[in-house]
Symmetry: D2
Subunit: 359 residues, 4 copies
Amino acid sequence: MSSSLGTLFRVSTFGESHGIGVGAVVDGCPAGLRLSEADIQPQLDRRRPGQSDLTTPREEADRVSILSGVENGLTLGTPIGLLVHNKDQRPGDYDEMDQVPRPSHADFTYQLKYGNRASSGGGRSSARETIGRVVAGAIAEKILYDEWGVEIVAWVSSIGAEQASGINPDTISRAQVDGRITRCPDPSAAVRMEALVREVLAAKDSIGGVVSCVCRNLPVGWGEPVFDRLEAMLAQAMLSLPATKGFEIGSGFAGTRLRGSQHNDPFVMKGDRLGTVTNNAGGTLGGISSGEPVLFRVAFKPVATIGQAQQTVDFAGKPVVLEAKGRHDPCVVPRAVPIVESMAALVLLDLALRQKVRE
Amino acid sequence: MSSSLGTLFRVSTFGESHGIGVGAVVDGCPAGLRLSEADIQPQLDRRRPGQSDLTTPREEADRVSILSGVENGLTLGTPIGLLVHNKDQRPGDYDEMDQVPRPSHADFTYQLKYGNRASSGGGRSSARETIGRVVAGAIAEKILYDEWGVEIVAWVSSIGAEQASGINPDTISRAQVDGRITRCPDPSAAVRMEALVREVLAAKDSIGGVVSCVCRNLPVGWGEPVFDRLEAMLAQAMLSLPATKGFEIGSGFAGTRLRGSQHNDPFVMKGDRLGTVTNNAGGTLGGISSGEPVLFRVAFKPVATIGQAQQTVDFAGKPVVLEAKGRHDPCVVPRAVPIVESMAALVLLDLALRQKVRE
Amino acid sequence: MSSSLGTLFRVSTFGESHGIGVGAVVDGCPAGLRLSEADIQPQLDRRRPGQSDLTTPREEADRVSILSGVENGLTLGTPIGLLVHNKDQRPGDYDEMDQVPRPSHADFTYQLKYGNRASSGGGRSSARETIGRVVAGAIAEKILYDEWGVEIVAWVSSIGAEQASGINPDTISRAQVDGRITRCPDPSAAVRMEALVREVLAAKDSIGGVVSCVCRNLPVGWGEPVFDRLEAMLAQAMLSLPATKGFEIGSGFAGTRLRGSQHNDPFVMKGDRLGTVTNNAGGTLGGISSGEPVLFRVAFKPVATIGQAQQTVDFAGKPVVLEAKGRHDPCVVPRAVPIVESMAALVLLDLALRQKVRE
Amino acid sequence: MSSSLGTLFRVSTFGESHGIGVGAVVDGCPAGLRLSEADIQPQLDRRRPGQSDLTTPREEADRVSILSGVENGLTLGTPIGLLVHNKDQRPGDYDEMDQVPRPSHADFTYQLKYGNRASSGGGRSSARETIGRVVAGAIAEKILYDEWGVEIVAWVSSIGAEQASGINPDTISRAQVDGRITRCPDPSAAVRMEALVREVLAAKDSIGGVVSCVCRNLPVGWGEPVFDRLEAMLAQAMLSLPATKGFEIGSGFAGTRLRGSQHNDPFVMKGDRLGTVTNNAGGTLGGISSGEPVLFRVAFKPVATIGQAQQTVDFAGKPVVLEAKGRHDPCVVPRAVPIVESMAALVLLDLALRQKVRE
């Protein structure tokens, strides 16, 4: 029971990868916002598989429909129902795995938790579940931009050991990010990443990576101490995504090696407001946005489904060799970019509305 | 508005560092549990300042009182009120900072968010706020251990660049952890860490570090997909702590450099249950506990309050040199150990109770 | 932002009367429950307009579709998406009312609250919104019956001044209730009620009434003191229905005229359990189900839309005479019967699951 | 697990009647509000027993202490901890009842729900639990009045069959209400009520009654469709009070006998805003405040504890005659007046803050 997120901008997602469809209900969207499917479809297209020969060839031309909450192109302030129909997903590909919990998948824990599970393809643990987040996040993004000018841009900062460098979080744009198949805006790293992913694909293997994200133009004051600090809400949102293993904000783990005299961000006048000289904090102080850009990184493990043979056991404990037949992404990180942005938008808008109560 | 955490085991904390006291109300504690202050005081003592010459010399002999919810030594199933009185905290030490937002503290954001703030010492952003978490966490720990045998042990795995090695998460105990002032159970690293902290203290500086934590003996099934996954709830809980900058579970950020064939955890029979050969997942699959130990790490930045002079500006933008006069911890990480354990306990128990609904 | 109800069995409804459709997402439904549209459709049919010549002649052959959460006829434990498409509702009937807030409708308050509203027919304040509640309630009812044998039966106990008598709450069945167009199982009162409704219809007027409801076979222990008492949750649920003006449980308002010696329900052995001789309490003690039948009544005001001319003013304050052209129910109470049952089921199941945590 | 109420102004109460104390934590109180114990104590004094010879002679000079959230007389925006110490309550009076569930008390259901209960006096089902609501409600009232001019006045409109008449909800004041021991501002009814209560007291019996309440000066727009309508939230709040059996708003149950043409409230200009000629709605339309006074009534059953002998059975089913020895209120209704006001304030402020998000 936890397919809902948010206090004032509340998203409830639904849908398995092989049912009629996936979607979301968004409760708390302000009234009078100009909104149509065209505002939502672009992010959905960015998360879609099959965008390049590096990603899964399954065709999922996902189209979102608004079921409620909008009339004459304007939001009513009532819940917005959003639905994306599923296409036939060739469930046969998964059939033989029914008796075998796939290593590092959720088959095992879903079966034991619920005593039951979607017969194929991961059900709610599938990447397809993130569609509900993306369609809701697109609405949140629009409000954040229209009302506060907030910009959210994520990019691939590493795949395997290949690291991007030289990205300027103050100026990086989605156009720059989307200029490369890998969504890494450092051109030379992007080339190395592409080569790496091709190599991994050829080896019927998979590889992990890191998505970085910047949120610009936040006013001071978003984030609710103590349990709903901005970074705490972001951390929850990001770790709720499939395949995530870590979250860091600002100086992150590297910052633990610094001294206070190096790490502290002194204040300085920036135009007519106080800002900080450095931004080791990553844009929050005491869990509240400081007016500096919010900067965080999310770790994605390598995709669990691989074509290589794996020695494991079935539910009864009998040894078995597993070889995934369906084609799958060797590296999910480029497609994770819009999903990370969507989750950030959901978190920020909810905290923005919670702060509006004080104004 | 966010000083509450949890769905079925719900903690609401209150209190500033310089008011009458700090505490918590715990709603959802099962009835019939044997409970007294003696069950809570030990973790409070472990979090107390002044435990060694490495930590702040302020004497805070914090004593917890149970205000409600317990009668004749047994819980009633009703809310448990918990109060720890504050002692005089020499607020004079902070007076001159009133007009100066301390770098990397919450003074600036609290002032702009609330239009007002505790006159001194951080108010709810102070480390003292964590007392409410620790007294509630101690109750959660007791229930987890009594009902499921769950053990939670945290330790210091790095301070600055000094890293512990050779810690066995399957066997590490609190007694081993508490054997060293630094709470690092690797003796040789502990010696280096102590030397480092003394050096930092002498330099009127501070230093960060990492706390690792293991939760053992969880049954399969805790964690609520999709937004309240076990790792998502842990990430929120840990990033809600003052001074935290990162969270990782299992293979974490390092795991992003592995291939799926290396990272996947194959299943194997362990006695009469399925387990995994490796535990790169860190004890969860699809956001649900897998039966393997839950392993995570939390990054703590260096303490912001340092004795060294810092160039900054006051609220009006006027340049000022700031030098903290009060004595403060040069390194908060050893004291963070019981706090991390407490937050883990709060998260686990809430998810355990949510899973009980299905049984 | 409040289209969700429940803590562990949580329903989020969506949809306006003139959009694509209305529906609900049910989060927290246990896994492994046998469920199909056929389990839900009957209550939807019972709430449908056009069941007799006494109700609105608009044809709404509402059909529910399950979008997610069910596979091979069994629930997965994941959110159940439910959708009922809208048919063309002849919005033209409402057009001229755009500038006139209809008396005792929500046009006025929606417009001022949201700065915007559905152009016609009430949007979320329309009776059509209750479809989401009914489809979710049907699922809750099935679980309550399958797991605990709980039976919920509502009936019309008065229309205008016509009162039913002689109804036995221990034995009354839905078949008996549905035996009369008015859903009043007292045959002689039913005849008088029918005559009254026909008279009101002829007069282009409307009339209110009271729905009574009994919930049988609850175990002792459902209801969460102090704010989520069983009667408090029922009162919220019932007063959240359109057109409701009152709620009473057990002795209700009449009980305020009794003395304690008359009102107290003494205990007595009933088979192998304690029960009470009388049931003035209405099935709860201290907000917790006592094992006696839960008995409550809900007051429905007369429908606001009437064919008679009404003198009122438009949004600008200009006097105007309003005459509703569309056909509408002269008396909503018979159709409210399954809606009251559905809301009761949602409340009871949520409290049942919350009590399961303790078992 | 339900001792919390509210979404943005959230109250968590704690405390049994015979523990150290009772109190509340208020989360979400705006910062910068002038607040001291003197703002809270008056309502606490109004709910106190022993205000006249008609009420229980137990002396409870309850004094509230603010534990946190206020500094230099101003709120910080952080949680406000509130504590009222218990005095010795002569628990011996209750001892012999340990094996006997008192008729129409919560002993029976608490014992079966929790497997345990406070040894005496009702624990959380005791009237003393309402102290936490009153101290929190006093803060809410102050904000409602300071920011919106909202006035909340409750009074006793009936005791037994004695009914008040001629009360003008537009002008009634607390001073008028408190002018009579019975808190009935109709002088002639008050005399009859007093006589009735004395008669009941002499007969070692008890009697019920109805409290009416008006909330004036609400702006249009408070109340969140669909489940958190203003009347739904009020109904929950009132039915969460001990001894309540009914709630009605506006025309209530009597309105069910009216025709739409009689019941509808036509709009009319009132100064520069739209208002309604009549107020059968009771101040809400579609669950949202309409700008007209909110008018509701709450039914209180007779107090369960009576001095008369009662034939009942003990937990084992053995017949027993019960005679309460402690002195108790023969009629709780006058003391319920400030409690009803407090609950109304908690509901209104929470909805007011939720509406602020839209402004």
